[in-house]
Amino acid sequence: MVLSSFLRIFKFAWQSFWRNIWLSIATITIIVLAFISINSLIIIKLVTDTAINVIKDKVDISLYFRPDVTESQVQEVQSYLTSLTQVKDITYVSQADALENFKRLHRQDSVIISSLDELDSNPIGATLQVQAKNIEDYPAIMEVLNNSKYSGLIIDKNFDDHQLYITKIKNFSDNFNKIGLITSLIFLFVAALIVFNTIRVAIYTHRSEIAIMKLVGASNWFIRSPFLMEAIFYGIIACLISIAAVYPILNFIQPYVSNFFLTEQYSITNQFNQYFWEIFGLELVAIILLNIISSLIAIRRYLKV
């Protein structure tokens, strides 16, 4: 009984779909556009978040110590810095390691290498690479360090201010979100209107059947449910199409993203897939709800039982 009535409702929705095929295509297209617009928002959000994290991870301060500063003095500075709440991590590069790094960096340059070999003491001091918990904390750490008794031990501090990039990315993402949100809302609103109209037309197309159903005493839900099902049907099909559409879009933007991150390892598709069920599950539920609401309004207005 339940199965057969489900089959009936499904069959009705299917027939209704074909009966006004152009209207069905228009309805589905507009819902797909709404989905694509929303998914673009999500993709941009994922990419910019990742970009900001990548940049944040790259930011650190390098403290270059004078060559005559001893290891224990450096370690004292390290433990002092570790005690600061803003500091997340400190990497210690010993004098010997620093020299190795320097040599490796300049191994093509025989003049530098040979003059280094002539020296009997290591001219390169140790380095501390300090990472803050938050990118906003770097100025404070610098401040503390400058006012401490250790400032004399340090010859040079190197801090690349990536804040600018981050602000730029954030601005871009905020602006995109604003435009995207408005576009998505417009699409959703139009989609709701079109679903309403499509159901209205379907009711009109079936007016003689509806009149007879009422006449012979079909229950109200029996008469209404196929139209509801039809609206749900459009949502499901549109959702499937937008799933199929999202991957070409992701593949299309992948080269640009790789280029930006200077790495082939980051896959936007993989990251999107992590949220697959959240994204499409929510979208499906939302569109079904939206379609139910607009078709119920159409049914209430045009299908008096």
Binding site: L215, G217, A218, S219
Partner: protein, 226 residues
């Protein structure tokens, strides 16, 4: 079986379709309702099937006060009342069999039961053998008989026919009326609305005459007046 108590119907804003109608139709009765166009005959039908609510008064069908019937109970009422109209209301894309089956199907009757019931009602209306025809391949009288067959599938206690012969010639009209009389003999209460003097005069049953929204005469064995 059917009781109209002080029924008044005003269509918004101000069409006075029925004014204080009182009518008592007993079980198994055959009642004809006559009257000029626009006097409220169809309105009475619609009140009986709960398609319209009376503005005032009380309407009782088979002991059930449907004056303020809940929308979800309307289908239950309609399965107990067969209705036929002047314009048959058949689906052109369905065969005779499918048209009748449709009425059963939409009320949740399964196919096995349908195949039992449909030959029975087709036999009553005398259309056995024509189940695979489409409405367009039938005469007007035959189409109306399909509509009557369809109205009988739930074995209604009441059959309401609103100008069933309106589109038919006198021979076909006669056949339809004979069919309604036969159905009445089986024990169904029949309410017939008709304009057709010849038809009404040949029936020799109760005739209620309506004018301007009020009952002006009610005769046990009536003739068409006006």
């Amino acid at each position: 079986m059917i009781i109209f108590k002080n029924i008044q119907k005003i269509y918004p804003p101000d069409v006075d379709a029925l004014k204080d109608v009182n009518l008592h139709i007993k079980p198994k009765e055959f009642v004809s309702i006559v009257g000029r166009s626009g006097t409220g005959k169809t309105t009475m039908m619609k009140i009986m099937t709960a398609e319209e609510r009376p503005t005032k008064g009380q309407i009782i069908i088979g002991g059930w006060d449907i004056t303020n019937i809940r929308p979800r109970d309307i289908p239950i009422l309609r399965r107990q009342i067969g209705v036929v109209f002047q314009d048959f209301k058949l689906l052109g894309k369905k065969t005779v069999f499918e048209n009748i089956q449709f009425a059963l199907e939409v009320c949740g009757v399964d196919a096995t039961r349908s195949r039992e019931v449909i030959p029975q009602v087709l036999k009553i209306v005398g259309l056995t053998g024509k189940e695979d025809r489409y409405p367009i391949q039938l005469s007007g009288g035959e189409q109306q008989r399909v509509a009557i067959a369809r109205s009988l599938v739930h074995r209604p206690k009441i059959l309401i026919a609103d100008e069933p012969t309106g589109n038919l010639d006198s021979i076909n009209s006669r056949e339809i009326v004979d069919l309604l009389l036969k159905i009445n003999e089986f024990g169904t209460t029949v309410v017939l609305v008709s304009h057709n003097r010849e038809v009404i005069n040949s029936i020799s049953k109760r005739v209620v005459a309506l004018d301007n929204g009020t009952i002006i005469s009610d005769q046990k064995v009536g003739k068409y007046i006006l």
